[in-house]
Symmetry: C2
Subunit: 181 residues, 2 copies
């Protein structure tokens, strides 16, 4: 397996750190891979854009920070403005259609996807935006099996909320598949 | 400020990752410091011991992984057995008295503290064990102000649960102060 370097970025309440942890746990616990997940905070973080890094690999991972992600997700304009330039040439840049207006061409595939709008229209609960984002990602590229994400969610989430999370994951998977080509 | 390297270790459900994220956010958002927080998962993680790293500094932090923590917390026997040797000489090793039987002397200060027992006796809810652990730490050494932790909790936790978390933090602060000398 190729080493995958991801950066999820957005604002504090959007759950990007949680999404990163869920993905890393799914890869490690249910796919036999190695993963490192980290947050770097600094002066810039006080400005608002949260960033969460994940590296997934079948080999040992020495340096846990992502310099150039091959997969970058930006869920707010601020996060996009701050991070879009770090995308690895030939990588994949995903932005949320509602929150981000893309400004420049980058040397990468770019997908503006209505994740938030779909979540609000079909589920109506912004709290599962991050899970729909994970689903979208997995629908676009085969990172881990959707079932591995569901197993992590089953361990983390009270059973009352599992259905809503499954719905969000599936909504994302369908959305990702739609934007694949 | 001296650079502080912490490792929190325990089992999955004990909230060590959440505690690490709360501490890092408190340092960055309310104390003007820099922080990096990370989880490394690998073959070993599948065994059971979860590890979460935090580095706090007033200078820029380049390498986000902790090699030798000057502060190591072990909340299960498995975590202790796996990690006790990485403590930096002269560092501080904290174990939970109920869960860990310390086996060897290390070249560090060692404190076996009844955090879990106190939480169960005075609050009765194991879910705030990790917050009591944070309080204990801050009672022992001045990492960040307790108010900074409370501010992070206020942003993260439904108001119904805030009181219980404040209680756990205060219980920890008192416990830490008691084991200081």
């Amino acid at each position: 397996m190729e080493r995958i370097r991801l950066v999820f970025s957005g604002s504090g309440g959007q759950g990007v750190i949680t999404a990163a942890i869920i993905l890393a746990e799914a890869a490690v616990l249910y796919e036999g891979l190695n993963a490192v997940q980290s947050q770097s905070y600094g002066a810039a973080a006080r400005g608002g854009a949260t960033r969460s890094d994940v590296i997934i690999s079948d080999a040992t991972i020495d340096y846990p920070k992502v310099i150039q992600p091959n997969l970058l997700v930006c869920l707010t304009q601020e996060a996009y403005n701050k991070f879009y330039e770090i995308i690895r040439p030939g990588g994949l840049l995903i932005t949320d259609l509602r929150y981000v207006k893309t400004l420049k061409k980058v040397d990468a595939q770019q997908r503006e996807i209505p994740i938030y709008n779909q979540v609000m229209e079909k589920i109506g609960k912004p709290i599962v935006f991050n899970i729909a984002m994970l689903g979208t990602l997995i629908g676009l590229i085969e990172l881990v099996a959707p079932e591995s994400i569901m197993k992590v969610l089953e361990n983390r989430i009270p059973s009352d909320f599992l259905d809503m999370n499954r719905q969000a994951l599936e909504l994302g998977l369908a959305l990702g598949a739609e934007y694949k080509s």
